[in-house]
């Protein structure tokens, strides 16, 4: 009972009311003809559209394609970013001879890879993954490198005193110290991965939610365009909440640091 009360108290009624009011005004002004927008559907039409794509399986098919490419691309980006970040963080020599290259490549707008990826892979999943992975690995790489560089030199000395092997130093000192940084980078890169998946689907690979929005726009089904946009927004929120939840569950010590950074 207490739990329920606390839950009810946490709900932002004012905020929900604002949304409801906005939807009501939107619906009424369109129905009564106060506002005339050729292609603006009413909220009720969008809701019906949402039910339509849910019941005919379109939404599920499109969402699972996008979700799959986001997850695969993101995991690959995190893996590459962590490995390179650990190497660069641990070796000043390596940093000296490659950091400038990274600083040149990093600000490259992710979308610039789309035409090259299309050239190399055509309209395919590989193209989509290339567009996701290349830009999404930088936040992880930079955060991991920074975290390893921030490890106090004395910790390495302690490791050497205890005669830890290189593998043990990596496992017992570097990885735990780098973890919060890795998580912050991974979270940034997750948001980026979703954005880039949608971009890749819009200009390249004709599949998934990004393509669905363009497809329905060209088919002049505005209510379905809005339904898909709502679905993509929901997917973004769910992915973010899932990642935060997983971090809290798996690495409770690091989650405080994550909140502090505000990632």
């Amino acid at each position: 009972m207490r739990e329920l009360e606390r839950l009810l108290a946490r709900i932002n009624w004012l905020g929900l009311g604002t949304i409801a009011l906005a939807f009501a005004l939107w619906e009424i002004s369109l129905r009564a003809g106060f506002a005339q927008y050729q292609n603006l559907p009413t909220p009720s039409a969008i809701a019906i559209g949402l039910v339509e794509i849910m019941s005919n399986g379109q939404l599920l098919a499109d969402t699972s394609h996008t979700l799959l490419s986001v997850l695969v691309g993101w995991l690959a980006a995190v893996a590459i970013g962590v490995v390179l970040g650990l190497m660069l963080g641990a070796s000043p020599m390596l940093r000296r001879y490659s950091l400038a290259s990274i600083e040149v490549l990093r600000p490259m707008p992710g979308i610039a890879f789309a035409p090259v990826a299309l050239l190399l892979f055509g309209f395919s999943l590989q193209m989509e993954l290339m567009v996701i992975i290349l830009p999404a690995l930088w936040p992880v790489l930079i955060a991991t490198m920074g975290a390893v560089m921030g490890v106090h030199a004395r910790l390495f000395e302690v490791g050497r005193t205890f005669r830890l092997s290189r593998g043990e130093i990596l496992r017992k000192i570097m990885l735990p110290a780098a973890l919060p940084g890795v998580l912050v980078g991974a979270r940034l890169s997750m948001t980026l991965a979703l954005v880039l998946a949608v971009v890749a689907e819009m200009v390249g690979n004709p599949a998934g939610l990004g393509y669905a929005v363009v497809r329905e726009q060209q088919a002049m089904r505005p209510e379905l365009v809005f339904a898909y946009v709502a679905a993509i927004g929901a997917l973004g929120m769910i992915l973010n909440a899932a990642l935060t939840g997983a971090v809290n569950l798996l690495f409770p010590a690091a989650s405080g640091r994550l909140r502090e950074v505000g990632a």
Binding site: N12, L14, G15, L16, G17, T18, I19, A22, Y37, N39, L40, R95, R96, Y97, S98, L99, A100, S101, I102, E103, V104, L105, P107, M108, P109, G110, I111, A112, F113, A114, P115, V116, L118, L119, L120, L194, V195, V198, V199, M202, V203, L209, G210, V213, V214, E216, Q217, P222, V225, F226, Y228, V229, I232, G233, A234, G236, M237, N240, G262
Partner: protein, 266 residues
Amino acid sequence: MTGPTLTTRVAKQLRVVRASLPPARGLLPLILLLGIWQLVQSGPSPYFPAPSQWWTATGNLLNREHLVAAFGATTLTFLKGLALAIVFGTLLGVLIGVSKLAARALDPVLEFMRAIPPPVTVPVAALLIGYNGIMKLTVIVLAALWPILLNTTSAVRQIDPLLIDVARSFRLSTTERIRRIILPAVVPALLIGIRIAIPLAIVITLLVEMLTSLPGVGAIMIRSQRNFQSSEVYALLVLVGLFGFVVNDLFAVIEGVIMRRWPPRR
């Protein structure tokens, strides 16, 4: 304004930014890669044309596609969109930061809007507004607005209430209050917001141009790819990369100059 003039301050900041860049020998892997590429594949190719081919392709693009004008158009759209996003983001951010009621009322809407990946607003805007300059700007503003708004809001919220009381007891005028208390608190956070917004705004500018073929670099990129002009595609990748690099570094200079005027408070 007394003291050093703006130009000397900018020059000084340029030097600071240059000093903060990593040593140039770090460019070695990139140069090596391009060199090996040139040796292995020295002619044209549908997939991996030689870097020397990119150079000739740039010449072709300059003549045929009026590349300079396209970069001008893209830069202008990007700057206009960013400027509008800064204005709206700051105003809304201050409003939401000052008023608890507004914050609570708008929070769920903003959370949802923020979760929507900016690219999907392009088809929606195309439906509602059609293919024109206003649509371009709307989409860029919608993408760049959130980081600016959120950073401004949290900065305004963190202003020490004591400072506001002090301002009241000193009977500072509204303009004085904005100049001495609000601006110093907001400007550093605003700059961080803009730094996050810049890459997003560039991506969305190029995407709109790709999807709608409105004049700009994005349209040329997609045209080269559709015509399978592989060396042009690579040349454009390099040019757009340089564009991103220059915009980022220029902003770092501007940021440094402004930060010196309003150093962040501890």
